[in-house]
Structure formats: C-alpha cells, structure tokens
Symmetry: C2
Subunit: 227 residues, 2 copies
DNA sequence: CCAAAAGTGTTGCCGGTACACCCATGG
DNA sequence: CCATGGGTGTACCGGCAACACTTTTGG
C-alpha cells in the first residue's frame, strides 16, 4: 500500500510573506491534483537526495516565484504520519520574506496558478497547511520585535511611514508616529538618503535605508534590536 | 553505494538538559560503533515509519533515560547530506528539560554508557552534534527569559535561591537577590508552601511551587511571562 | 488656498536597578 | 554564640507612552 520511494519521504513547504503597503500577504498555489484538488496550498516540493532542506526551499521558491536571494528561515518540521493521505511525507516548513509582491507573482504565473492572499482571509488550505501558516504568522509576529526582518519586506529605499505601516500590519496594533520614529532612529541603523519622494501632492517624505553592516557590527558587541 | 532503506532517512537527536544545583548539564552517550566510535554524542535514534518525530523523541528519551513526561520541544532539523558519513540521514533535533539529574542517569546506565557533562566543557562530539548542542543552548537561553521553562529543571517544590541559581547558570550572569524575588513573586505564579527546609544549619528557606494552571489562564488573557 | 501626509518635543509615570542589614536555625 | 544563607524596603533614574501643531508640496 505504501509505496515509499526513499526521497519521497521528505518535502519542504514554504510560507512566503509579502507586504503590499497595507497588509501582510501570503503566496498560495492552487492544487492541480488529488488530493485536495482545487484547494489553495503552500508552495512546496520534494527534497532531492543530495540536497539540504534549505537548498530545496531555495530551489522551490525560485521555481515558483522566480525570486532569488530572499530571506528564508526554517520554521518547523511537520511529521504526523497521516498529514498526507497518500503516504507518509515529512515536511520541513520554511518561511520567506520577499520584497515587491508584484514581481513574485508574475514569475509564478508561468507554471502554476499562484496568488497573494490577505492573512485574515482564513481560507481552508490543503493538508495541514493552515497549521503551518498559523505557526509562521506567530513566528513572524514574535521575530519582528527583536530582529530587523521587517526590512526584508520593503524596498531597500523606504519611508518611515511605510516602515511603521508594516509594523502595524504585522503586530496588529496602531503605533504612535513620534514614538516610533524616535525609537527606530535612536538605534542608528537607518541611513537617511538625499532623495525624497516626488510627485506626491504633499510634503515629500525622506527615504531611508537599513544599514545591515552596522547592524551586524553592533550585534557582535551585544546590541539587541528591539522595537 | 547508498543503501537507502526508506525509514532510515529520518532520525531524532535529543539535547537533554538537567540542572545539578550549580550548572546546567547535558546528557551524552558514548558511541559503541563506527563512525565516531568512542566519541560522545547526543542520544538519538531512527524514527519509525508510522511515528511522528515528537513520538520518536519521547520514545528514544524513555529508552535511554527511563524518563517519561518531560518537557520536550522541537529544536531544528539538520539535513546536510554529508552530516552522516555512511548515508544521508536527516535528523530532527529536539531538546528536553528534565528534573533530577540523578534519576535520569541510573536508568540510562543499563543500556549504554551515558553521563552528564558541564556545558562549558567544550568536548568534541560525534557528527554535527556540537552544532546541535550549541543551537539548543542558544534556544534555552532565549526561551528562559519569556517562558517559564526553568521550573521543568527543578523539583516541583523549590526555594527561591534554587530558582535564582538556575537562572544565573542559564543566563551566565549574576542577579540581584531582592530584585529577582520581587519580580518573580509579583507575577503571582508561585504558590508558597507551608513546609520549609529542615536540617540546614541556618534559617530554613520556604518552599514554592509553580502554578501552571494559573499561568495558562493568565497567558490566555494576554499575560506574558518575562524575567 | 486647500488637502494631505511629513515632520517634530515635552511631560508624567512606571518599572528596573542599585544597595545593606536583621533573622532563624544547627551545631 | 557563631556561622550560614534567608529574607526584606527604598530611592534614583531612564525609557515608554501620551499628546497637537507647523511644514511642504501638487493641484
């Protein structure tokens, strides 16, 4: 009954987060086969025999979205023997943070039907993917407070208002503009750029850039990011 | 060359922490076979075909130490194709916190050579187990601050000094006695017991108990443990 | 000149930290 | 009566939260 080809045991599934300026979103793909035909699911694939799961996640992500060099981290390994009705498949779930939700989806459309979904649209997903997604959300909520991962979701050049909107979207709370700016600028991790917004019918905002090098230096000296 | 029996792909390795009253320690087992014959290694074993990795970790832990019902959590999945020189084995690492280091080791001795080691004894371990151990230490250091996992390492009845010693051992810093007590007692999660120490040549200390039920209630209301 | 978002300082409060002495017991 | 660790209160300081108005641009 259980046709267990060695490497079909191990899979990766990725929770790919993007930010549209207002909401945090996840990239889902529509299943074209049984089981769960027609359901939305997390993009994933089998791990090859001589590939680490991290490498597999990177590969699958590029296959589905065309994106390379995204922030990718292991989330949790799901191993309930019944999580796939066909046969046992252990899945090492990862989560990814990508900039520019637009770019990702175009590349994905070539192969499969993929789309971005709002997080609070509590759609029913294939397999145990709802559980995986919920865990990923919880993880991102936890990490955003004390790791500067938010910048992975924004263009390299961003305004403080964009950054604040992002934090508000992820944490689900409103933040005070002045306090937010004070705190984030006090860390000295943002480099102010000369350029400003143009063509907006209002006072143009300054652009900023996250100084990853400085962050790494400070971290080694015991500094901890916290917002 | 690669004799890949299906379920031999997946293993669990456990980092089992105990506390001896002074230092945090790990339980290691001595390898009786090649490769790494004679090296110390994390206790581990293969995952059975219809068993989740969590179940496998619980089973292996009981086989090696005789302990049941310990605090056990998934840590990370290690999947470098070359991590085992014989063949590819993906390992889902867990970490466990056990009370009473004495009890654990006796049960273990029946089957294999096992012993507790001080954390800063940077012994060379088999496979990538040093990496796993280091990650586990980091994880415990991070979690002890905002999850009440410390109590899993102490007897159910403990003194505040024991608790403080534990925190100092894990965090690697000295803590102020008065501030420590104030903060932990202010959370209202410790229940003071009538009994006191006996037979010590000094003022006897009061015993306390961690009220897990109250913790769960508070947590649901948004309370977060933090020390 | 109007609409829209950008940008900017001060104050009160709470919580964290620093710090030293008396107490109860066994031997 | 001595040694040992148990147990307790206060004062200062810094960081966090609350809060409203002026500025700059495009249309």
């Amino acid at each position: 009954m259980k046709r267990q080809i060695a490497n079909s045991f191990l899979a990766v599934d990725s929770v790919i987060f993007g930010f549209d300026g207002e909401c945090l979103r996840v990239l889902l793909t529509k299943r074209l086969n049984e089981p769960y035909l027609g359901y939305w699911s997390l993009p994933g694939g089998l791990v090859r025999v001589d590939e680490s799961t991290a490498a597999a996640a990177v590969r699958v992500l590029e296959e589905k979205t065309g994106l390379k060099k995204v922030y990718l981290e292991q989330l949790y390994t799901f191993s309930d023997p019944d999580r796939d009705p066909r046969q046992r498949i252990v899945s090492v779930a990862h989560y990814a943070l990508v900039r520019s939700t637009d770019h990702a989806i175009h590349a994905g459309r070539h192969t499969e039907l993929a789309d971005w979904f709002d997080l609070d649209e509590k759609k029913k997903l294939a397999f145990d993917h709802r559980k995986i997604l919920d865990l990923a959300i919880e993880r991102v909520r936890g990490q955003i407070r004390y790791k500067p991962i938010g910048f992975e979701l924004l263009p390299t050049r961003f305004t403080l208002t964009q950054l604040q909107k992002l934090y508000e979207a992820i944490l689900g709370t409103a933040l005070d503009k002045r306090n937010f700016r004070k705190k984030i600028l006090a860390m000295n991790l943002l480099e102010g750029l000369e350029e400003k917004e143009i063509g907006v019918g209002r006072k143009p905002a300054q652009y900023w850039r996250f100084d990853k090098k400085k962050y790494n230096e400070l971290t080694q000296k015991g500094f901890v990011f916290e917002l």
